[in-house]
């Protein structure tokens, strides 16, 4: 399928091929929302999506969703953002998701195995509005016990209605309602109760191992209940405020835009996964740069092949590429309090880098400086290495406040002679020097000996050289100074190396 790349063909092509206008508008609106959430949707992909929805039944929500995802989302990290936009945008457009009809709220229950359930069963006609908190709690317990998805959905609806206290037009986010609902449901308590129940039934006490499996099972059910509750809150909010407003409130930065300094624990975990491919790329870049422009020994096979153009006369000798040299990397990282969050990330980066390169030496400093290369060597678990660095490395000289000048001096005295013409040096820090002497001549001396010195700064560009930051003073002696606050910028830095 050939596709024109020029804008404006967008609508024309799609209508020509006979898509009804309502769907076209709907999709266009959806794609606008996706782009607003930061997802890079190209025109080609847009057209593919239009083409794709023609082939799937529109009534089938799941298939429809996957059709859109397959054509529009080309990165697994973006899946979550896509899902949020999808759920918000199409939240009021599915059959089962209509919001007005409270009568169908409680799903039909199989009445036989219900003990504490009669009461609520009788009240179904009234939409379950009159459920007492105890009855709701019992329903919650039963639905989790049996892992009944339908029933969980009913419970979620009831719980949100009763506990969230949602009022039209109230300017609070969904998390507030979620918190209120969950607090009233006391899921932790329910989990304990479920586990106790299980033990009583089993008779003899189960081993820790069995308990653990049981707990995981119930936990996963509770998680799915929580998802139902979130979805319910979202639906109600969308109904109240409209799609655009909701999509805007729920918008979160994509993983590559998450600021290292303010990353939550979950975000940190996904960042860690993303670092690994990046270091491979870094390795490739550094090696390739060395490969250019030099010739290795004669390549016989290719020479013979080339000689065919001259009737078998080897007129054009071909050479092998020289074996690329392993680059040598020194990483010098600030792990002081002011960059604590960044430092945690930095250490992960160092760990990942040391897995890629054979010759990596890592140093950490606050006002003193220590080599930590050995702490990353042969360590299987990164958390252990980070813990060791934080506890064992001797980085405090006087008061444990950053002193770049002194740290650099220590480095120069102890390790300066190890720098060779093949060494790339990466310094990670915010250059907030607490008004100590900068000793920036050391950077100059380092750069004279080394292949390159790069400075990565976790602070926004606009903060540089304000207050006690003296990054500008160091920068004049570096090959480059980069603002690196998120993965996108880190990737930009790696690309710059090429």
């Amino acid at each position: 399928m050939s596709v024109s790349e020029s804008a404006g063909f967008d609508d024309a092509v799609a209508t020509q091929e006979g898509i009804g206008d309502p769907i076209l508008d709907l999709l266009n609106g959806f794609i606008v929302q996706l782009r607003a959430a930061g997802l890079p949707v190209s025109l080609t992909e847009n057209l593919d999506a239009m083409e794709a929805v023609k082939h799937v039944p529109l009534g089938d929500r799941q298939t429809f969703k996957y059709a859109l995802a397959a054509t529009l989302v080309k990165h697994h990290n973006h899946w979550k953002a896509f899902e949020t936009v999808f759920e918000v945008y199409f939240s009021l457009r599915g059959d089962e998701f209509s919001i007005g009809d409270d009568t169908v709220e409680l799903p039909e229950m199989d009445d036989d195995e219900q003990q504490g359930e009669q009461a609520s069963g009788d009240q179904q006609g009234g939409g379950g509005d009159n459920l007492s908190p105890e009855e709701l709690a019992e329903m919650l317990y039963q639905s989790l016990m049996r892992g009944d998805q339908q029933m969980m959905r009913g419970v979620a609806r009831q719980a949100v209605k009763r506990y969230a206290g949602m009022e039209p037009g109230r300017p609070v986010g969904g998390t507030y309602y979620l918190y209120r609902t969950l607090r009233n449901l006391d899921l932790d308590g329910v989990l304990e109760r479920l586990l106790e129940q299980e033990q009583n039934e089993e008779g003899d006490a189960p081993s820790d191992f069995e308990q653990r499996l049981q707990r995981d099972e119930y936990q996963s059910r509770i998680d799915s209940l929580q998802k139902e509750i979130e979805a319910e809150i979202r639906r109600r909010l969308v109904a109240d405020r409209g799609v655009e407003a909701m999509a805007k409130t729920l918008r979160k930065p994509l993983p590559e835009d998450v600021d290292f300094m303010h990353a939550s624990r979950e975000e940190m975990a996904s960042l860690r996964k993303a670092i690994y491919p990046l270091t491979r790329k870094l390795a490739a870049r550094l090696q390739r740069k060395r490969r250019h422009g030099r010739k290795g020994p004669l390549d016989f096979r290719r020479t013979v092949r080339a000689s065919l153009s001259y009737g078998g006369v080897p007129a054009e000798p071909k050479f092998r590429n020289p074996r690329p040299h392993k680059p040598e990397i020194f990483v010098i990282a600030d792990i002081s309090g002011s960059v604590a969050a960044f430092a945690r990330f930095t250490l992960h980066l160092v760990y990942a880098i040391s897995g890629q390169f054979s010759k990596v030496r890592s140093f950490v400093f606050i006002d003193g400086l220590d080599e930590v290369t050995h702490m990353f060597e042969g360590v299987e678990d990164i958390n252990e290495a980070v813990h060791r660095v934080n506890t064992e490395a001797d980085v405090v000289w006087v008061d444990g406040h950053s002193d770049y000048g002194h740290a650099l001096q220590v480095f120069w005295e102890k390790y300066g002679n190890d720098i060779g013409p093949r060494t790339s040096i990466m310094i990670l820090g915010d250059a907030r020097n607490n008004y100590h002497a900068s000793e920036s001549w050391i950077i100059k001396a380092m750069n004279d000996k080394a292949r390159a010195v790069h400075w990565l700064n976790p602070e926004p560009n606009s903060y540089w050289d304000t207050g006690d930051s003296i990054v500008g003073e160091y920068a004049q002696h570096c090959d480059g100074t980069f603002e690196v606050r998120n993965l996108r910028q880190l990737e930009g830095f790696v690309d710059h190396l090429a």
Binding site: M1, S2, P40, S42, T44, E45, D48, E51, A52, H55, V56, D60, Q62, T63, Y66, A67, A69, A70, T71, V73, K74, H75, H76, W79, S207, D208, F209, E210, Q211, R212, L213, R215, D216, E217, Q219, S220, A269, Y276, P277, R280, K281, A284, V304, R305, L308, G311, G312, E380, D381
Partner: protein, 292 residues
């Protein structure tokens, strides 16, 4: 537009018929790929059945599977085509003196002297084929460009011969273990499918289908233990194939109910790093569940 599959549900059933248990996402994307005539880029952790998907699809469509295994240093000569230069040389020598040079030079750059490699073979085949480009993330970014022409237009341009158009549109699968980011150009040309570890129910089904003589009860327990292990932060989580190996082992050992001891003794089938094994054993023995 081709119509290998009538709808998503029946495709799912057909895949199940050859022992590949798909879900809505997987079946939906394969179905779309057929309808839109686009390649599928399948990404996901190792051992989740990405390659198997291509094999299974070729099995149900009765198409020949042509496989290109990617590796660092893969080049045109290995992926697309190569001139059979020995034969060309022989041709030149056999005719030396007798014929005009112009005739020979036209002659030695013809089909007869062309060695087809997987990509060219896939589009020049007369019968239906499924093309599997395996572990595409292993080639360098520059080599990816080799694939672009065939992926978007199903054609190969050979300077000496001209452009070879596909006789039939092959169903193309590219798999990637995500060790590096693929280029935008490549991604734009493909439908994207992320295959993750299956959820509890699907994993249990897979174990039941693939492991003969396993009881439903044991399969259920296997799936549960594996799920718990995947929740622990490890270097390498157990893949589906490792789950299957483990299940087979348990059947061979005649285990009927997995207790802590059996799990500890056989966990080395699921996990391949000593540090992971230690961690998992420790974690599984604590009743409190997920510790941070």
């Amino acid at each position: 537009m081709s119509n290998r599959f009538s709808d998503v549900a029946s495709l799912k059933d057909e895949l199940a018929g050859v022992d590949y248990l798909s879900d809505d996402g997987i079946a939906g994307v394969v179905y779309l790929a057929d309808r839109l005539e686009k390649p599928i880029l399948v990404e996901g952790p190792a051992g989740t059945g990405k390659t198997q998907l291509a094999k299974s699809v070729s099995e149900i469509t009765g198409a020949r599977l042509i496989r290109l295994q990617c590796y660092e240093g893969l080049d045109e000569a290995k992926a697309l085509y190569e001139w059979n230069y020995k034969k060309q040389l022989l041709r030149i020598q056999a005719e030396s003196g007798g014929e005009e040079w112009d005739d020979i030079s036209d002659d030695i750059f013809s089909d007869e002297f062309l060695l087809t490699r997987p990509l060219l073979e896939a589009i020049s085949a007369d019968e239906p084929v499924v093309l599997l480009i395996d572990e595409v993330d292993r080639v360098e970014v520059e080599t990816e460009a080799l694939l672009l022409e065939i992926l978007s237009d199903y054609q190969v341009s050979i300077p000496e011969l001209g452009t070879i158009q596909a006789k039939q549109i092959p169903l193309v699968f590219l798999t990637s273990n995500n060790t590096r980011e693929l280029s935008e150009a490549l991604k734009r040309r493909c439908l994207y499918l992320h295959v993750d570890y299956p959820d509890l129910e699907r994993e249990k089904e897979i174990v039941l289908t693939k492991v003969p003589d396993i009881t439903e009860n044991l399969a259920d327990q296997v799936a549960r233990v594996v799920r718990s292990i995947r929740q622990i932060e490890l270097k390498k989580h157990p893949s589906v194939s490792e789950t299957l190996d483990w299940a087979k082992t348990l059947v061979l050992l005649g285990v009927e109910k997995i207790d802590e001891q059996t799990a500890t003794q056989t966990i080395n089938i699921l996990l391949k790093y000593q540090s992971d094994i230690n961690k998992a054993i420790k974690e599984l023995a604590t009743a409190d569940g997920v510790s941070p």
